[in-house]
Symmetry: C2
Subunit: 358 residues, 2 copies
C-alpha cells in the first residue's frame, strides 16, 4: 500500500493543452508559465504521466488540473463526486460556474487568498480510458500531479463522496504528503446495497446501448443516481401527487428527474460514467493504515452511506479523529446544499490544521 507505483516511471512531463483536443478549455496555463508570471489567481494545465493501475497495468495518462491562489500558500487538494471536475468555482481567469462555488472563493471556507487550491479531473473522466479504475489509482495520480507541480505536502485533502474515498486512499498511500484529511460523505468500503444500486444504473446504460442509443440509458442511470443522492424527506416537501395524463400515470418528480438526466447526458461520456461508477464499488481500504488526522463528516439521511459505516470508519482510524454528523433532507448531496454547516466544519478543520502546523 505504501509503494507509489509511479515512482520509477519517467519524470512527469508538461505538455501544452492544445495537443489534447478532446477537452474544451477556455485557456490553459502550463506550470512553467505560471511560475514565470508569479502569483496567478487561477491556472489550468495538463501533464502526461505513466501510472501503474491496480487492475489494468501500466498506462499513459493525461492529468488535467486547475489551481487557485498563490502557490506559496499552504496547499489544499479538493475533490468531489464522480461527476465533479477540476473547476471548483469561477475565477478571473476561468469565469464559468464551478461545482463547489458555495465553499470556494475569496471570503469562503476554501479561500484562494489563504490557500493554494489544487483540483483535477478524475482519470477516466474524459471517457477515453475504458478499464477498471481503482480509487487507489486516483490517489496515485494525485501524488504524481503534486510531483509535477513540485508540491511536497498538502496541508489538507478535502474530499466529498468519491473524493473522500480517494482522500482515504491518499492518506493511506501517501501519508507523508498530507497534514489532514476532511472526508465528507465518503467511506472506506463501498456498501453492498449502494453498490447494487450503482450496478443497476450501469445495467440501464447497457440496456440503452443494446438499441444503439446510449443517451437514454445514461439518462435513466443518472435519474436512478439522483434518487440515491436525495431523500424521501426532501421529495415529500417538494413533490405532490401523481396524475393520470393521456391514460398514463406520471409522478410529480418525473419532470425534475428528466431534467437531471438530460443535463447529465449532455456533459458526460458514457464510458466515463461507467468506469467511475464502477470505481466507487472497488473502494476497499483498511482504516487502520491511516494515521493522519481525519475529520469524518456524515449525514444521517445519506441513503448510500449508512451512519454505521461512518462510525465504523472513525473507530478504526489510527490517528486523531473528529466526527461531525449532520441532519439534512439532502442526504448524500448535503455537502453541496448545507452551505452554512459545511462552511463551519471546513473552517474548524483548517483552523486546527493551521494551529498544529504553527
Amino acid at each position: 500500500m505504501t509503494a507509489m507505483s509511479f515512482a520509477n516511471s519517467p519524470a512527469a512531463t508538461f505538455e501544452r493543452s492544445d495537443s489534447f483536443v478532446s477537452y474544451a478549455s477556455p485557456a490553459i496555463v502550463s506550470p512553467d508559465v505560471f511560475e514565470r508570471t508569479g502569483r496567478a489567481a487561477a491556472t489550468r494545465g495538463e501533464i502526461a504521466v505513466e501510472l501503474e493501475l491496480r487492475h489494468s497495468g501500466r498506462r499513459n495518462l493525461i492529468l488535467r488540473y486547475e489551481t487557485q491562489g498563490d502557490r506559496n500558500l499552504p496547499a489544499l487538494f479538493v475533490a468531489g463526486g464522480i461527476s465533479a471536475h477540476r473547476h471548483l468555482a469561477p475565477s478571473r481567469e476561468f469565469g464559468e460556474q464551478g461545482w463547489w462555488q458555495s465553499q470556494v472563493g475569496h471570503g469562503r471556507s476554501l479561500d484562494p487568498s489563504q490557500h493554494y487550491l489544487i483540483s483535477f479531473d478524475w482519470i477516466g473522466a474524459d471517457g477515453t480510458l475504458d478499464v477498471a479504475l481503482d480509487p487507489a489509482d486516483q490517489a496515485d495520480a494525485i501524488a504524481a500531479l503534486l510531483d509535477a507541480l513540485r508540491i511536497e505536502r498538502l496541508q489538507a485533502f478535502i474530499g466529498y463522496s468519491y473524493g473522500a474515498m480517494v482522500g482515504l486512499q491518499f492518506a493511506s498511500r501517501h501519508a507523508s504528503r498530507l497534514g489532514e484529511l476532511v472526508s465528507i460523505s465518503g467511506t472506506h468500503r463501498a456498501h453492498p446495497y449502494a453498490a447494487a444500486w450503482r450496478a443497476l444504473q450501469r445495467r440501464a446504460v447497457a440496456l440503452g446501448a443494446l438499441q444503439c442509443d446510449e443517451s437514454q440509458g445514461l439518462a435513466l442511470a443518472r435519474e436512478l443516481a439522483v434518487l440515491s443522492y436525495r431523500t424521501p424527506e426532501e421529495f415529500a416537501e417538494r413533490f405532490g401527487n401523481a396524475e393520470v395524463r393521456d391514460g398514463r400515470v406520471r409522478v410529480a418528480a418525473e419532470d425534475y428527474l428528466d431534467h437531471c438526466g438530460n443535463k447529465y447526458v449532455a456533459r458526460t461520456p458514457t464510458t466515463a460514467f461507467l468506469r467511475l461508477s464502477e470505481s466507487i464499488d472497488l473502494q476497499q481500504i483498511d482504516p487502520s493504515t491511516i494515521r493522519v488526522p481525519v475529520t469524518v463528516v456524515a449525514v444521517s439521511e445519506d441513503r448510500l452511506i449508512p451512519l454505521s459505516e461512518s462510525y465504523d470508519l472513525i473507530e478504526r482510524l489510527r490517528g486523531e479523529t473528529r466526527l461531525r454528523v449532520l441532519r439534512s433532507i439532502y442526504g448524500h448531496d448535503a455537502c453541496l446544499k448545507e452551505e452554512s454547516d459545511i462552511n463551519t466544519i471546513l473552517r474548524e478543520a483548517l483552523a486546527d490544521c493551521t494551529q498544529v502546523a504553527a
Copy 2:
C-alpha cells in the same frame, strides 16, 4: 366515496374457467359446484363483472378468485403486493406453493379451519387491461366479488403492501361490509420518493421495449423494485465486496438480483407490471373517511413507506386504531420474512375482532 359504482351493473355471472385460456389453473371449481358439494377446503372460480373504473370508465372484467375453508366460517379477505395473486398457500385441491404460506394454513394465523379465506388476482394482473387502474377500482372489484360469492360482510380484510392500500380503500368505500382492517406496510398515499422510484422502474421497461425485447427492461425494473423492498442492513449481512471480472466490475448482489429479475419476467406480463405499478402511485385516500377498526403494521426499515407516513395514517383514522412497529432488516418485505412477529400480530387482531363480534 360511498357510492358503489357497480351497484347498478348487471348481476355478476359465474363462468366456467376453461373459457379463459390465458390463466393456467390445475382445476377450477365454480361457486355453485362448491355449494353443491358442501364444505370444500379450497375452490377457484372466475366471475365476469362490469365495473366503473375511476380513470377509464365502464369495463367488463373477469375476477379470478380462490377460497379456502368453509364458507360458513367468518370471512377474511387476504391481499398482498402487486405481484401476489389468489393462491395464498397449498391446499389439497391446489398443491402448488402460495405467496403467503408462512401465515396461511391449518394451525397458522390465517387458518382455513377457523376462517373462510377469500383472495383474488388483481384486476390488471393478467396483462389484458391496459388502462390506468386506481386502488379504489380494486376495492370495488372485491365488493363485486363478495356480491357474487354472496358474502355480505368480512370479519377482516388483511392487506399487505398494495393489498393494504386497497384495504384502506375498501374500508372507506365499503365500510358496512367490514369488521376490521389489518394494514401491513401500506399507506393512504403513495410517497413521492417511492413513486419516483417506481416511475424509473417503468422507464426501464420503456427503454427495453424500444428494442422489442421487453424482458430485459422488465427484469431491470424488477431488480430495482427488489432493491426498494429490501435494506442496506440485509445486504451488508448477505453480500461481500465487488470484484473485477474480465475487466468489468461485478458487485456481490448482482447474481441475486439477476435471479429475482429473471424469475419475475417468466411469470409477469409487462402490461400487468406497468399498470399495477402505476396503480400504487395513484393511491390517495383521506384516512378520516375510515371508521372501522384498523391495525397499522409498519416496519421502521421500510424504504418505500417512511415510518412518519404510518404515524400520519394512524393519527388521522377515525375508528379504533392499533399501531405495531416492527424492526426488520427485510424492510418492505418484512411481512413475508418475519413470520413469528406477523403471526402474533395477525392472531391478536383476529382474536380482538372475534371478541368484538361475540
